[in-house]
Symmetry: D3
Amino acid sequence: MTDDQPQFDLITLGETMLRLMPPHGLRLGQSTTLDMQFGGAEANVAANLARLGRRVSWWSRLPDNPLGRQLAASLRGQGVDTSHILWADNERLGLYFVEQGEPPRGVQVWYDRAHSAASRMQPEHVAAAWLESARWLHLTGITPALSDSCRATVEDVMRRARAQRLRISFDVNYRALLWSAEAAAAVLSPLCAAADIAFVALRDAHNLFDARGDRAEVARQLQDRWGGIVVVTDGDQGAAAYDGSAAHDVEALPAVVTDRMGAGDAFASGVIDRLLDDAPLAEALRFGAALAALKLTIPGDVACVTREEVRRVLDRSASSLRR
Amino acid sequence: MTDDQPQFDLITLGETMLRLMPPHGLRLGQSTTLDMQFGGAEANVAANLARLGRRVSWWSRLPDNPLGRQLAASLRGQGVDTSHILWADNERLGLYFVEQGEPPRGVQVWYDRAHSAASRMQPEHVAAAWLESARWLHLTGITPALSDSCRATVEDVMRRARAQRLRISFDVNYRALLWSAEAAAAVLSPLCAAADIAFVALRDAHNLFDARGDRAEVARQLQDRWGGIVVVTDGDQGAAAYDGSAAHDVEALPAVVTDRMGAGDAFASGVIDRLLDDAPLAEALRFGAALAALKLTIPGDVACVTREEVRRVLDRSASSLRR
Amino acid sequence: MTDDQPQFDLITLGETMLRLMPPHGLRLGQSTTLDMQFGGAEANVAANLARLGRRVSWWSRLPDNPLGRQLAASLRGQGVDTSHILWADNERLGLYFVEQGEPPRGVQVWYDRAHSAASRMQPEHVAAAWLESARWLHLTGITPALSDSCRATVEDVMRRARAQRLRISFDVNYRALLWSAEAAAAVLSPLCAAADIAFVALRDAHNLFDARGDRAEVARQLQDRWGGIVVVTDGDQGAAAYDGSAAHDVEALPAVVTDRMGAGDAFASGVIDRLLDDAPLAEALRFGAALAALKLTIPGDVACVTREEVRRVLDRSASSLRR
Amino acid sequence: MTDDQPQFDLITLGETMLRLMPPHGLRLGQSTTLDMQFGGAEANVAANLARLGRRVSWWSRLPDNPLGRQLAASLRGQGVDTSHILWADNERLGLYFVEQGEPPRGVQVWYDRAHSAASRMQPEHVAAAWLESARWLHLTGITPALSDSCRATVEDVMRRARAQRLRISFDVNYRALLWSAEAAAAVLSPLCAAADIAFVALRDAHNLFDARGDRAEVARQLQDRWGGIVVVTDGDQGAAAYDGSAAHDVEALPAVVTDRMGAGDAFASGVIDRLLDDAPLAEALRFGAALAALKLTIPGDVACVTREEVRRVLDRSASSLRR
Amino acid sequence: MTDDQPQFDLITLGETMLRLMPPHGLRLGQSTTLDMQFGGAEANVAANLARLGRRVSWWSRLPDNPLGRQLAASLRGQGVDTSHILWADNERLGLYFVEQGEPPRGVQVWYDRAHSAASRMQPEHVAAAWLESARWLHLTGITPALSDSCRATVEDVMRRARAQRLRISFDVNYRALLWSAEAAAAVLSPLCAAADIAFVALRDAHNLFDARGDRAEVARQLQDRWGGIVVVTDGDQGAAAYDGSAAHDVEALPAVVTDRMGAGDAFASGVIDRLLDDAPLAEALRFGAALAALKLTIPGDVACVTREEVRRVLDRSASSLRR
Amino acid sequence: MTDDQPQFDLITLGETMLRLMPPHGLRLGQSTTLDMQFGGAEANVAANLARLGRRVSWWSRLPDNPLGRQLAASLRGQGVDTSHILWADNERLGLYFVEQGEPPRGVQVWYDRAHSAASRMQPEHVAAAWLESARWLHLTGITPALSDSCRATVEDVMRRARAQRLRISFDVNYRALLWSAEAAAAVLSPLCAAADIAFVALRDAHNLFDARGDRAEVARQLQDRWGGIVVVTDGDQGAAAYDGSAAHDVEALPAVVTDRMGAGDAFASGVIDRLLDDAPLAEALRFGAALAALKLTIPGDVACVTREEVRRVLDRSASSLRR
């Protein structure tokens, strides 16, 4: 990297799907309207960071039809660059139906994503110019589960990004409906090892990577294997991180939950945002926890907040500690 | 029962009314739209069982106008047989206005049900062929409160069903806005005694039937009087049952409540469903508790779930116990 | 009338019902929400005149429940005095279901108004103080059709109003679902004769009163029978009036129709408004036509407009004529 | 077939898809909610006839998921038998996105129907018992366009139905987005010839079958080729029919259009309904025209009307002619 | 004042603004519709008391445009007299945008109220006749913060009311977005001292008036300074009051919160209502607590309840204590 | 212009306001929700051209609050560059309330735009870099009416743009609520003369510029005065243009109107789009007419269409002419 600043702070790629959801907690079959949004872990991170003022670009393969264009417009409106998207004729956008249900019902998802344009991405679709335009690359463990060509694309992009000395974050994001824990572990473990920072849920660490113990112990074990920074998220509880020398822990901030979706992406976004400024890891975890807490109060996948609003939450929380 | 299987697993009759409710917890007077549903304890049981795959028929007297037809279509869509309904010209459908309010406001109901087509049902309206078409009859203590002819119909149908050796369930469902506790007790006690299984809320057992003590004691006392199986429901707490020889108890499953309406009907539906398969009473109570817990998370009166979904709740709950 | 100005410019009485209507032109059975309004010809006139700045009082017998109170609040919000309403315990508000359908479907109505509080009004319910509080009384031919006591009330009120030298307007408003043309004609003809000004639709003039010919001829024939002023309305075409000496005619103003309901009431309101100021009949008809045209563009029964807005329509229409 | 009346008046099969549509004439990209309905020409005919009181069964291959079950429930609620549906695990429901736009924009459709459960129907999936349960079979030219196996199924079912002496109606319903006019003509012409009554739009007759002239001439030309009854529909204008001996024509009834979708299916439904009673062809065309006119005033694909309401439209139309 | 009863039980004045709020907890920027209400502390008190049957008049300066008129109609519908409002041409209604967010997000408000018609009220705008028409005057600490002329108006009105021996209540209602704690304290302290009863939040008592300790101690300290009755409200906890001789305390009633807005106004309304009947202060506090608890369950600013419903809450609460 | 392509095809500046509108044709006072959009003639042109694939930048002065940011996001989502916007602290966004009413009611607007951030734009706020970034500048006659500094800004920007040899379009867009015809004519006439192409409504040409005759004559008269190209729009009828040598005329395309707003902006956008490609003026007028016709079928201010969709309309229209 020269002293010229690259065009983007962060680039990311993956599949974003049309999300169709009955309103007001109704079940499919009870409603004759569906709420229409777009959902994808990488796009969520891109939107979160763009709202904080970061220059971010998201890449995927999209059908050149009204749905694909609406998806791109939605991201662009949030400040994400969409100029590198690869447009495909006569293909489909993957979609899924979601029901939001309280316990013991739980959230249920029905995927209809086979044959999507994104699932047909190839390594050669990702332009060198785009990879050279940023200083940070974010990937997740969802993409390699979509198809062989998607897996090859993620592996190839990561290899090229390392060669160009981009910093790389990788969020495991295991999806049991897409592949087995064994298959996932085999593919994702090398990707975690190749990343500068890996995010993994405590539950996934147990099931996929045979890590044992609480979040702090798990972070230490996985860092031993993968190097870099390992952040272990623990749902409503908090998160732990280990960077090979120091262990850090953050409690989740108290929040009245309106919508759980996207809270993990918000946490990762917050951590990455501070590391983009080379802030200490402990500060990054706190920032991530604040962004996640705010996200929990906001309907939808994205943490629609300003940096100032995150700061205010952190200040209040700090002042509470002092009393 | 011969080796010919009867056409229906269960038949039930009663009044179902148009329910008009301001949306979003608003009060009447705050809203200019009303949500429009149909509400009736027996129809809820019919729909719950049909959704679990049971062959169920519901009978009533309905006005032959768009509201009556919409009511029938709604049940038919849920899988309930409506072919025996008695259609009446130039009559009205009973209706009620409901406000859903949190404590201390509480739910409030304004009935406008006088002179309804259903309140004019007569014993001779109920065809023998329909009564012969099933192996189980379900009735509630609401119907006898509607009019003299309704009371006579319930008593007559129960007598005829017993003569034909149908199994009979009876849910006390005391409605203080319709009659006094004394009047209700006098009519309902013999009906409970005539049923194979009686459901009664702990509060009603105290107020109507002078039973004393906790749910277990009350179940025992009432079974002494009525014979058969007595199930005493205890709101958010759980339920107890006594069948003359063994006492059973089930805790309510933890649930985040979206809509309380219909939870009692779901519980009864679940118990009946298992008894239709001659399952042990303890298993029936657990199934009922699971169905009720799911209902609490679903807007509306009906437990819109599949048998598979109930099973999953029971399995999770069982596995929690094992740990 | 002394030089003391009476409290109200106009008083009126009648039944107003809850109107329940599926939205967006749907049929009952296609929608699970209902739009909730209140509909009554006399209340429409009261609201129209109050919006034009007139001091108006509306009287009826209403159930003292949330629906009755909401009805009164709705009128009060529009500026109509509701302080004389007679509140009844444990009674019901009449209601009706409406479908708005384009031709050839047409509007359909299902009444559920039997046993309403209003249908039980009695002559002695109407206080002398209220009748003395105004200089104009407006009545319609709907009220006498509701019950014997309603008919007696209308006849008695009209008699007392004449004795107190109030000016009286009467709108025939024949409703075929409530009574036969013969029964209606027998009751309504004397009421028209007793009024200072009678409004009648051309179609009703043909069917009830055996008048023949176009609106101008019909106005003349009926004025011969009834005296006073007779205004014959001719739907989308216009209206004619005869006062015993001069004939007047007004064309309907061109309007793009949004909602036909209440256009006739708006026309009558406009005519009455100008006559309250002793304006010439021709001017009153033009003002009524303008108010009706505005009403056609507004959803709901009431012409929600200011006097200034009516004036602007009249000026534009006048200037168009000049060119 | 014995002299016992068959179970159903009419059976029909085809694909029904999930239809997703932005509300209020908005474009995709302008709305964040979608109206959710189910659309299929054969299911529309089934629902129309069931609403008129006919006993109708609809068959298809459906995914056993909430969408498939909701589709079946929707038809069942309208009175259509759904008990023969073939349920498929782990398959998808075809879907399409529709925008309703006025001219010059026009209606636009984006299909996402490849790989649907219905497109995989096979001739052997259609049970003999179902085919024997009715006296009339209705098919359309959409199904053969979906896949080779769908085409084979339609051809096989039609052959078997003829062998069992069912009466057969066939609606050409050419869909240019699915296949070319040439391919369609080659497949559909023999199917029309095999049917007792064929419906074809004038435009399709011109483009696919090289018929020339106005609707009357086209009906005569195609009847010469295919035999039986040929009905040529002419959009907003009317329809002509020829049965080899007599020519009939019906003008479209005047209607203010609310929703054009399903008007053609309503017309065919009305014609079939009267032919089920062996009414004269002229009467059948008039009934079809009345049903289509009513449909045009109703949002959605189905003519939600009663037989009585159709009769009223016909009577009014007849009486208008008399004056 | 003669021995004639004055026209109104209570009069109040202040600014009411248009409140625009995205629905369903969404953020501005997530919604394309806004819920439209009117919000103002004094108007809330007026509406609450009118709903309890009190004769109440509200005064302000309003723009004579559709928004101003809609505001007045809304209050009038709730039973508040609006006949003294001063209408201003070519002025604007203040407005604010609100987001309702759960913690840690919190409620956020963006005001756009500069140059509003109300902010230009002058002492001489308030008619003597209006001030003489009641026996109680209610004011708040919001109005003096709006402009110099508003401050002057409040001070002048309070002086005149004292001269006419009206009873005066004053609610501190400190708004940090409008002025500093210091500026507010300097203006509000004399107004509290001039009132017969002052309401102040515990937090404001700490920050503005340097009172120390819990609510009971604070009430005593401030009563020492101001005389009269001082009521210190303590959010979800309850309230304390001191009248110079006796101390009273009330616990907040348990309530499931639907909407926090307006709960403080409801509490003050309840206290004032009972004092209007010269009830003991302890009873007034309990009534206020019950009204506030009901308000918390109702969407919007106003406690839409009847006196009977408040009584029922108090009775239940009392009976719970007895057991 | 060198062979370097400038960054943008077109730049434009002006005020965009928050537009609040009751839904479904209701009047303010009938609705408790408001549809929230952003409206501004220049932003409409920017969005229309961006949707056609043009690189467009819009400039204004906006408050740095959620409303200002939402406005920018909305434009960015449509593909308009917003990176040059000048953000202002503690200022307000202008807003207006609109009622859409059919004739004779008509559209009514209530502005609340005084003191807006945009009305305080200054000539020096417009950066040279931005002015140098494009080859076309679009301005309207609304901006100079907002304030003295706005007028100065428009005049200065136009002067600088001419110096840099940008092509300039100017749309008169006279707003009678903002200034008199005389004042407007004095300011706008020189601006029209300074533009390469001026758009003016026939009505404004009559009232402001004393042009006489039909659109063709008016175009010729004004071109004599101003030079360049003058396009005279004639509402639903069509438009005429004169460029000093040749006269062109286009008929409006037939369209069923859903929403009239923005049709004029769409027409101008279409004309400009073709002139950006140096197409003949006649072709540009036809393209503008097609875009305007499509806009009329789309709710909202913007012609949400693709270039392909415009082409299809033009082709159909051409082919219709051939027959």
